[in-house]
Symmetry: C2
Subunit: 120 residues, 2 copies
Amino acid sequence: MDKEKNEMCEEEIVHSASVEKVRAEMDEEELLYDVAELFKVFGDSTRTKILSALTVMELCVCDIAEVLNMTKSAVSHQLRILRQTKIVKSRRSGKEVFYSLDDEHISDIYALAIEHLKEE
Amino acid sequence: MDKEKNEMCEEEIVHSASVEKVRAEMDEEELLYDVAELFKVFGDSTRTKILSALTVMELCVCDIAEVLNMTKSAVSHQLRILRQTKIVKSRRSGKEVFYSLDDEHISDIYALAIEHLKEE
DNA sequence: ATAACAGTTGAACATTTATTCAACTGTTTT
DNA sequence: AAAACAGTTGAATAAATGTTCAACTGTTAT
Protein backbone atom coordinates (compact mmCIF):
# COMPACT_ATOMS: atom_id res chain seq x y z
CA MET A 1 0.00 0.00 0.00
CA ASP A 2 1.33 3.39 -0.98
CA LYS A 3 1.88 6.22 1.43
CA GLU A 4 -0.76 8.93 1.47
CA LYS A 5 -0.39 11.96 -0.73
CA ASN A 6 -0.08 14.17 2.27
CA GLU A 7 2.97 12.28 3.49
CA MET A 8 5.01 11.70 0.39
CA CYS A 9 5.93 14.01 -2.44
CA GLU A 10 4.64 13.22 -5.91
CA GLU A 11 7.16 11.66 -8.25
CA GLU A 12 6.80 14.51 -10.70
CA ILE A 13 7.29 17.27 -8.19
CA VAL A 14 10.34 15.80 -6.48
CA HIS A 15 13.65 16.74 -8.09
CA SER A 16 14.26 13.24 -9.44
CA ALA A 17 17.72 14.03 -10.75
CA SER A 18 18.87 15.26 -7.34
CA VAL A 19 17.36 12.29 -5.56
CA GLU A 20 19.06 9.83 -7.87
CA LYS A 21 22.41 11.56 -7.67
CA VAL A 22 22.28 11.64 -3.88
CA ARG A 23 21.17 8.01 -3.65
CA ALA A 24 24.12 7.03 -5.82
CA GLU A 25 26.75 9.12 -4.08
CA MET A 26 25.86 9.19 -0.40
CA ASP A 27 27.36 6.69 2.07
CA GLU A 28 25.98 3.19 2.50
CA GLU A 29 23.08 2.86 4.90
CA GLU A 30 24.93 0.30 7.00
CA LEU A 31 27.91 2.60 7.41
CA LEU A 32 25.62 5.43 8.47
CA TYR A 33 24.10 3.23 11.16
CA ASP A 34 27.59 2.47 12.44
CA VAL A 35 28.49 6.16 12.45
CA ALA A 36 25.39 6.89 14.51
CA GLU A 37 26.21 4.06 16.92
CA LEU A 38 29.74 5.35 17.34
CA PHE A 39 28.64 8.90 18.06
CA LYS A 40 25.90 7.68 20.36
CA VAL A 41 28.62 6.41 22.66
CA PHE A 42 30.06 9.93 22.93
CA GLY A 43 26.63 11.48 23.28
CA ASP A 44 26.36 11.10 27.03
CA SER A 45 28.06 13.37 29.55
CA THR A 46 28.89 10.56 31.96
CA ARG A 47 30.86 8.87 29.21
CA THR A 48 32.55 12.08 28.01
CA LYS A 49 33.62 12.67 31.61
CA ILE A 50 35.03 9.17 31.87
CA LEU A 51 36.93 9.62 28.60
CA SER A 52 38.27 13.00 29.67
CA ALA A 53 39.46 11.50 32.96
CA LEU A 54 41.14 8.57 31.21
CA THR A 55 42.87 11.02 28.87
CA VAL A 56 44.81 12.19 31.93
CA MET A 57 45.75 8.72 33.20
CA GLU A 58 44.73 5.13 33.77
CA LEU A 59 42.20 4.78 36.59
CA CYS A 60 40.39 2.11 38.57
CA VAL A 61 36.59 2.06 38.74
CA CYS A 62 36.57 3.33 42.29
CA ASP A 63 38.67 6.38 41.38
CA ILE A 64 36.48 7.19 38.38
CA ALA A 65 33.41 6.99 40.61
CA GLU A 66 35.11 9.33 43.07
CA VAL A 67 36.12 11.82 40.37
CA LEU A 68 32.62 11.89 38.86
CA ASN A 69 30.89 11.69 42.24
CA MET A 70 28.82 8.75 41.09
CA THR A 71 28.23 5.20 42.29
CA LYS A 72 30.54 2.42 41.17
CA SER A 73 27.54 0.65 39.67
CA ALA A 74 26.55 3.53 37.42
CA VAL A 75 30.16 3.98 36.30
CA SER A 76 30.58 0.27 35.69
CA HIS A 77 27.52 0.18 33.45
CA GLN A 78 28.95 2.98 31.32
CA LEU A 79 32.42 1.40 31.27
CA ARG A 80 30.86 -1.75 29.87
CA ILE A 81 29.51 0.23 26.93
CA LEU A 82 32.90 1.85 26.35
CA ARG A 83 34.59 -1.55 26.60
CA GLN A 84 32.20 -3.24 24.20
CA THR A 85 32.80 -0.55 21.60
CA LYS A 86 36.58 -0.98 22.04
CA ILE A 87 37.02 2.60 23.18
CA VAL A 88 38.55 1.67 26.53
CA LYS A 89 40.38 -1.43 27.70
CA SER A 90 40.73 -2.91 31.19
CA ARG A 91 43.30 -4.86 33.18
CA ARG A 92 42.86 -6.41 36.59
CA SER A 93 45.40 -5.82 39.33
CA GLY A 94 44.43 -7.64 42.50
CA LYS A 95 41.00 -6.51 43.56
CA GLU A 96 41.05 -3.49 41.29
CA VAL A 97 40.30 -3.15 37.59
CA PHE A 98 42.15 -0.37 35.80
CA TYR A 99 40.72 1.28 32.71
CA SER A 100 42.53 3.21 29.98
CA LEU A 101 41.83 4.51 26.49
CA ASP A 102 42.12 1.84 23.82
CA ASP A 103 41.62 3.58 20.50
CA GLU A 104 43.65 6.55 19.34
CA HIS A 105 41.30 7.39 16.48
CA ILE A 106 38.75 8.04 19.17
CA SER A 107 41.01 10.51 20.92
CA ASP A 108 41.39 12.35 17.62
CA ILE A 109 37.64 12.64 17.10
CA TYR A 110 37.20 13.71 20.70
CA ALA A 111 39.97 16.32 20.40
CA LEU A 112 38.46 17.71 17.21
CA ALA A 113 35.11 18.19 18.92
CA ILE A 114 36.74 19.95 21.87
CA GLU A 115 38.62 22.21 19.46
CA HIS A 116 35.42 22.99 17.59
CA LEU A 117 33.57 23.92 20.78
CA LYS A 118 36.41 26.03 22.15
CA GLU A 119 36.53 28.12 18.98
CA GLU A 120 33.08 29.55 19.49
CA MET B 1 23.53 12.91 54.15
CA ASP B 2 26.53 10.86 53.02
CA LYS B 3 26.36 8.10 50.49
CA GLU B 4 26.37 4.57 51.90
CA LYS B 5 29.61 2.66 52.35
CA ASN B 6 28.53 0.15 49.78
CA GLU B 7 28.22 2.82 47.14
CA MET B 8 31.27 5.00 47.64
CA CYS B 9 34.90 4.06 48.17
CA GLU B 10 36.53 4.95 51.47
CA GLU B 11 38.75 8.00 51.36
CA GLU B 12 41.79 5.98 52.48
CA ILE B 13 41.40 3.25 49.91
CA VAL B 14 40.89 5.49 46.90
CA HIS B 15 44.08 6.59 45.16
CA SER B 16 43.79 10.18 46.35
CA ALA B 17 46.77 11.39 44.36
CA SER B 18 45.30 10.09 41.11
CA VAL B 19 41.89 11.52 41.86
CA GLU B 20 43.31 14.96 42.59
CA LYS B 21 45.53 14.93 39.53
CA VAL B 22 42.64 13.95 37.27
CA ARG B 23 40.31 16.49 38.85
CA ALA B 24 42.90 19.19 38.18
CA GLU B 25 43.77 18.19 34.64
CA MET B 26 40.60 16.88 33.03
CA ASP B 27 38.31 19.12 30.97
CA GLU B 28 35.76 21.41 32.59
CA GLU B 29 32.42 19.81 33.36
CA GLU B 30 30.55 22.38 31.28
CA LEU B 31 32.68 21.68 28.23
CA LEU B 32 32.08 17.96 28.65
CA TYR B 33 28.34 18.54 28.66
CA ASP B 34 28.69 20.50 25.42
CA VAL B 35 30.76 17.73 23.87
CA ALA B 36 28.08 15.21 24.76
CA GLU B 37 25.36 17.46 23.33
CA LEU B 38 27.31 17.87 20.09
CA PHE B 39 27.85 14.14 19.67
CA LYS B 40 24.27 13.42 20.59
CA VAL B 41 23.25 15.20 17.39
CA PHE B 42 25.30 12.74 15.34
CA GLY B 43 24.11 9.79 17.38
CA ASP B 44 20.98 9.11 15.36
CA SER B 45 20.94 7.34 12.02
CA THR B 46 18.24 9.57 10.54
CA ARG B 47 20.47 12.56 11.14
CA THR B 48 23.63 10.85 9.86
CA LYS B 49 21.70 9.97 6.71
CA ILE B 50 20.58 13.56 6.29
CA LEU B 51 24.14 14.80 6.76
CA SER B 52 25.51 12.26 4.31
CA ALA B 53 22.91 13.30 1.74
CA LEU B 54 23.68 17.00 2.23
CA THR B 55 27.38 16.24 1.77
CA VAL B 56 26.53 15.39 -1.83
CA MET B 57 24.44 18.49 -2.52
CA GLU B 58 21.88 20.99 -1.29
CA LEU B 59 18.41 19.46 -1.00
CA CYS B 60 14.83 20.47 -0.23
CA VAL B 61 12.88 18.74 2.55
CA CYS B 62 10.78 16.78 0.08
CA ASP B 63 13.85 15.34 -1.63
CA ILE B 64 15.46 14.38 1.67
CA ALA B 65 12.23 12.62 2.67
CA GLU B 66 12.26 10.80 -0.66
CA VAL B 67 15.91 9.76 -0.34
CA LEU B 68 15.42 8.47 3.21
CA ASN B 69 11.98 7.03 2.49
CA MET B 70 10.51 8.89 5.44
CA THR B 71 7.70 11.38 5.99
CA LYS B 72 8.38 15.09 5.58
CA SER B 73 7.29 15.59 9.16
CA ALA B 74 9.84 13.22 10.62
CA VAL B 75 12.57 14.73 8.45
CA SER B 76 11.54 18.25 9.36
CA HIS B 77 11.75 17.48 13.07
CA GLN B 78 15.30 16.24 12.64
CA LEU B 79 16.25 19.18 10.42
CA ARG B 80 15.13 21.50 13.18
CA ILE B 81 17.62 19.87 15.56
CA LEU B 82 20.39 20.17 12.96
CA ARG B 83 19.44 23.80 12.30
CA GLN B 84 19.35 24.73 16.00
CA THR B 85 22.82 23.33 16.50
CA LYS B 86 24.07 25.30 13.46
CA ILE B 87 25.06 22.16 11.61
CA VAL B 88 22.84 22.85 8.63
CA LYS B 89 21.39 26.06 7.22
CA SER B 90 18.25 26.67 5.18
CA ARG B 91 17.08 29.03 2.47
CA ARG B 92 13.59 29.38 1.09
CA SER B 93 12.98 29.37 -2.66
CA GLY B 94 9.30 29.71 -3.44
CA LYS B 95 7.40 26.95 -1.74
CA GLU B 96 10.52 24.93 -1.10
CA VAL B 97 13.12 25.17 1.64
CA PHE B 98 16.61 24.05 0.71
CA TYR B 99 19.03 22.72 3.28
CA SER B 100 22.83 22.54 3.16
CA LEU B 101 25.72 21.93 5.53
CA ASP B 102 26.65 24.98 7.55
CA ASP B 103 29.70 24.04 9.60
CA GLU B 104 32.89 22.68 8.09
CA HIS B 105 34.31 21.58 11.44
CA ILE B 106 31.38 19.23 11.56
CA SER B 107 32.26 17.72 8.20
CA ASP B 108 35.77 17.09 9.51
CA ILE B 109 34.52 15.25 12.58
CA TYR B 110 32.10 13.28 10.46
CA ALA B 111 34.81 12.37 7.94
CA LEU B 112 37.14 11.25 10.73
CA ALA B 113 34.48 8.92 12.10
CA ILE B 114 33.85 7.44 8.65
CA GLU B 115 37.56 6.93 8.17
CA HIS B 116 37.82 5.23 11.56
CA LEU B 117 34.96 2.85 10.79
CA LYS B 118 36.22 2.00 7.32
CA GLU B 119 39.63 0.99 8.67
CA GLU B 120 38.26 -1.95 10.64
C1' DA C 1 -10.25 34.26 -3.32
C1' DT C 2 -9.52 29.56 -3.34
C1' DA C 3 -7.09 25.38 -4.04
C1' DA C 4 -2.82 22.94 -3.91
C1' DC C 5 1.53 22.04 -2.35
C1' DA C 6 6.03 22.46 0.79
C1' DG C 7 7.14 22.68 5.10
C1' DT C 8 6.51 23.33 10.26
C1' DT C 9 4.79 22.40 14.75
C1' DG C 10 2.72 20.45 19.18
C1' DA C 11 0.81 16.56 21.45
C1' DA C 12 0.58 11.65 21.89
C1' DC C 13 2.73 7.44 21.66
C1' DA C 14 6.43 4.09 21.61
C1' DT C 15 11.05 3.13 22.26
C1' DT C 16 15.45 3.72 24.05
C1' DT C 17 18.48 4.54 27.68
C1' DA C 18 20.76 6.13 32.23
C1' DT C 19 20.64 5.37 37.09
C1' DT C 20 19.32 2.91 41.20
C1' DC C 21 18.94 -1.11 43.92
C1' DA C 22 20.08 -5.60 45.40
C1' DA C 23 22.43 -9.63 44.69
C1' DC C 24 26.26 -11.54 42.86
C1' DT C 25 31.65 -12.86 41.49
C1' DG C 26 36.47 -12.59 42.32
C1' DT C 27 40.49 -11.30 45.00
C1' DT C 28 42.90 -10.27 49.22
C1' DT C 29 43.44 -10.28 54.18
C1' DT C 30 42.89 -12.03 58.73
C1' DA D 1 37.23 -20.38 56.20
C1' DA D 2 35.29 -16.04 56.78
C1' DA D 3 35.24 -11.18 56.34
C1' DA D 4 36.12 -7.18 53.55
C1' DC D 5 36.50 -4.81 49.52
C1' DA D 6 36.41 -3.85 44.10
C1' DG D 7 33.76 -4.55 40.58
C1' DT D 8 29.87 -6.60 37.76
C1' DT D 9 25.22 -7.63 36.53
C1' DG D 10 20.00 -7.94 35.89
C1' DA D 11 15.64 -6.00 36.89
C1' DA D 12 13.05 -1.95 37.90
C1' DT D 13 12.36 2.85 37.58
C1' DA D 14 12.60 7.35 35.59
C1' DA D 15 13.88 10.37 31.98
C1' DA D 16 14.92 11.43 27.26
C1' DT D 17 14.02 10.98 22.50
C1' DG D 18 12.18 9.66 17.63
C1' DT D 19 8.09 9.03 14.87
C1' DT D 20 3.29 9.59 13.90
C1' DC D 21 -0.78 12.23 13.47
C1' DA D 22 -3.42 16.24 12.76
C1' DA D 23 -3.60 20.94 12.36
C1' DC D 24 -1.25 24.76 11.04
C1' DT D 25 1.70 28.65 8.10
C1' DG D 26 3.44 30.40 3.87
C1' DT D 27 3.86 30.48 -1.11
C1' DT D 28 2.24 29.71 -5.81
C1' DA D 29 -1.16 28.79 -9.35
C1' DT D 30 -5.88 28.84 -10.99
